[in-house]
């Protein structure tokens, strides 16, 4: 996957993708092996980083899930995830 390094919004989102992916992979493993300390540590570590990165992204670029409260309604503002052409503009 080519990442546009000059685009800090895209860079932050790709970090979130990576942390969330690691947490999800540990989640699936823990479903089958709930007693694995190693998987649990991996889950905690990457989920914490994903939550931190998600919060940073949302504070800078708008909500990724409908927000608990808002001063103005940003949720429907594009680009939506499949609209890569608008992301580049």
């Amino acid at each position: 996957m080519l990442i546009n390094r000059n685009n800090s919004k895209e860079r932050l989102l790709r970090s979130l993708d990576a942390y969330a992916f690691m947490a999800h992979e540990a989640l699936l493993y823990l479903d089958a092996y709930p007693n694995s300390r190693e998987a649990l540590e991996c889950y905690n570590k990457y989920n914490k980083q994903a939550m931190r990165t998600r919060a940073e992204y949302e504070s800078k670029y708008g909500p990724l899930t409908p927000p608990p409260e808002a001063n103005s309604w940003q949720w429907t503002k594009g680009p939506w995830p499949w609209q890569a052409e608008k992301e580049d503009k």
Binding site: M1, D17, L28, Y33, L64, W82, A84
Partner: protein
């Protein structure tokens, strides 16, 4: 319940539209081993599943498959941007275009619309988990075939990610089958589920 997160599980950024590729890849949306069938299979099977760990695996894999449905939709959307009528006719995309324009609709590459007859929810632990193992391998083969037919790095990048997920899900369903067999009667070495045949 489910909540939507406004990002793809893995990014899809395709520079060059290609309606021919779209008419092949659409099979992973609505084909026999496609992502919508995968998510419906696991999210229906989990309801009657008696073992908590297996319910967990079916829930979390089934939810991920919804994200894959979205990724395939993004690939199709980006492959069919700004097409000329000439490109649509020459590529063979015209048979899809006539019914759906460039809207995203779940059909197999053959044109057969998505059908729930392509999966099972049998209400039987072993029957369901063995179907799930086969389903992941069949989807993996479809992605292999797509990689044999498509030669655009932007498209292949996302397809390779999805292919790798089928392999991981296969591992987790193998774990689930092991868990289920351990929990079933240890004398049940024929590997069937006799719970419905017991006198109550």
């Amino acid at each position: 319940m489910f909540q939507y997160e406004k990002r793809l599980q893995y990014p899809v950024k395709i520079k060059n539209p290609n309606p021919k590729y779209a008419s092949i890849i659409v099979s992973q949306l609505g084909g026999p081993d496609g992502e919508i069938g995968a998510s419906l299979r696991y999210l229906t099977q989990r309801i009657a599943m008696p073992y908590d760990e297996v319910v967990g695996i079916l829930t979390d894999v089934g939810t991920e498959e919804l994200g894959h449905f979205e990724m395939i939709s993004a690939i199709l959307y980006q492959l069919t941007r700004n097409l000329s009528y000439d490109e649509i006719k020459k590529s063979g995309f015209d048979t899809y275009f006539v019914d759906h324009t460039t809207g995203i609709y779940p059909v197999a590459a053959s044109g057969y619309p998505y059908s729930a007859s392509q999966f099972q929810s049998k209400g039987d632990i072993l029957a369901d988990l063995n179907e799930d193992l086969a389903a992941e391998q069949k989807a993996r083969v479809t992605y292999d075939n797509i990689l044999r037919l498509v030669d655009d790095p932007d498209v292949c990048d996302a397809i390779k990610f999805l292919r790798a997920r089928e392999i991981v899900h296969y591992q987790r369903f193998a774990d689930a089958l092991g868990i289920a067999q351990d929990k079933m009667n240890a004398k049940n070495f024929y590997g069937y589920n006799p719970s419905f045949d017991k006198k109550r």
